[in-house]
Symmetry: C2
Subunit: 236 residues, 2 copies
């Protein structure tokens, strides 16, 4: 990997179309990754593409995700090329022709070679890092994972070799002459993902209010902003 703050696009990641929406710099890639906790990871298993939604996180230029040690995808991933894609829908874009309807979104595609984290202590550290990336300060409130639990859990790490970002964050396109006379509403309807009212488990005793390590996920907070805050304070 280069030690500059960019990912050099090759044929794999270079945008062929709508190149004005694409970027390859580290800050742009990380800005998308750090606003999300779910990624869609593409594997090739027996020649077939398989895409699984998975909780992931970032540490520097390395991505991590986890799953069951029994997962055939995670076992197949060890040493294999994978593509980890993150996307967020930010709005519906309405126009006067079907062709010009669109969506506002942010997405990042990251390519690399995956490897299983096998060392026991490294797995324990990965579990803590996963919790800390979403919930900074929470690990000290939790009991440690048992050996059996760590054995059941697989962690995968992937140094990012190539990455690209695409963002669309504008309104409808400029009106076209042939649209004259058509008056369907033009504009953007924003889409926002937010946290709801916490539902405490019956087993919380008197402790029905979420602890301080969950303050960034207060009702009404934006999920992307809460996760970006947490990435800056716990992860990355």
């Amino acid at each position: 990997m280069a030690d500059d703050a960019g990912f050099t696009p090759t044929a794999l990641s270079k945008a062929k179309r709508l190149a004005d929406r694409a970027a390859y710099d580290e800050a742009a890639v990380f800005a998308v990754l750090d606003c999300a906790m779910m990624a869609h990871i593409g594997y090739v298993v027996d020649g077939h593409p398989i895409v699984t939604p998975t909780l992931f996180w970032r540490e520097g230029r390395t991505l991590y995700w986890h799953g069951s040690a029994a997962s055939r995808m995670l076992r197949a991933a060890d040493g294999a090329r994978v593509c980890l894609t993150v996307s967020m829908l930010d709005g519906l874009v309405l126009d006067r022709s079907g062709f010009h309807h669109s969506a506002n979104y942010r997405s990042a595609m990251c390519f690399g070679r995956a490897r299983l984290v096998k060392d026991h202590d490294a797995k324990r550290a990965a579990l803590d890092a996963m919790i800390t990336r979403i919930y900074p300060g929470r690990v000290e409130r939790l009991r440690l994972a048992t050996k059996a639990e760590l054995k059941q859990t697989a962690f995968v790490e992937m140094p990012i070799e190539e990455a690209s970002v695409k963002v669309r964050a504008t309104g409808a396109a400029a009106p076209e002459p042939e649209d004259a006379g058509w008056n369907g509403w033009r504009g953007v309807i924003p889409v926002e993902t937010r946290l709801g009212v916490p539902q405490p488990d019956a087993d919380n005793g008197d402790h029905t209010t979420p602890t301080l390590d969950l303050a960034h996920f207060a009702p009404g907070a934006r999920l992307d902003e809460a996760l970006r805050w947490a990435a800056g304070n716990g992860g990355a």
Copy 2:
């Protein structure tokens, strides 16, 4: 394809783990697909997995998506095996050990062989179906696509050969004896994706309020419910 209302799982789609969260019946698969408009589609290009976020829709047991006619993914997809995955994050699940932290979600994985829609009239029909699936009744408000626009647009169709669904929609797991004495908050923080306040384009003239075909996307409406309603009234 079988003509019963189920997808028969083979080694490709059969859940190896957490099998209690998995289903293969048509109603369960469609219920997840119809609540979403973005899918992550996995292709194999030159042996590499590539996952792209894409607007998709369903007609019966066939899935459609679109993109630029210049897209190497779409051209590579013609005749190739693909995996189309949809997922929605519904909540953060908090527990007293890192191991038992989880997420509530709905996801569907669909497998099949893709083919490009090549006929001009079929492409026009696909563009209308895409708009109608999201915005029932809107097509008549829009000017028709030009030949040049249709030429720039590629549509892909994929009859679903296999599909599976996974859903987690419960609270924290049952407390474990070894958790005694640890008192991090246990429960679920819901995650909801909703529509915001419409941002009209300056070119709407007096017509600043969204037209009736957009009523299901009123501010505060849940995106998944609006899309499910639209699927029942325009698409599927």
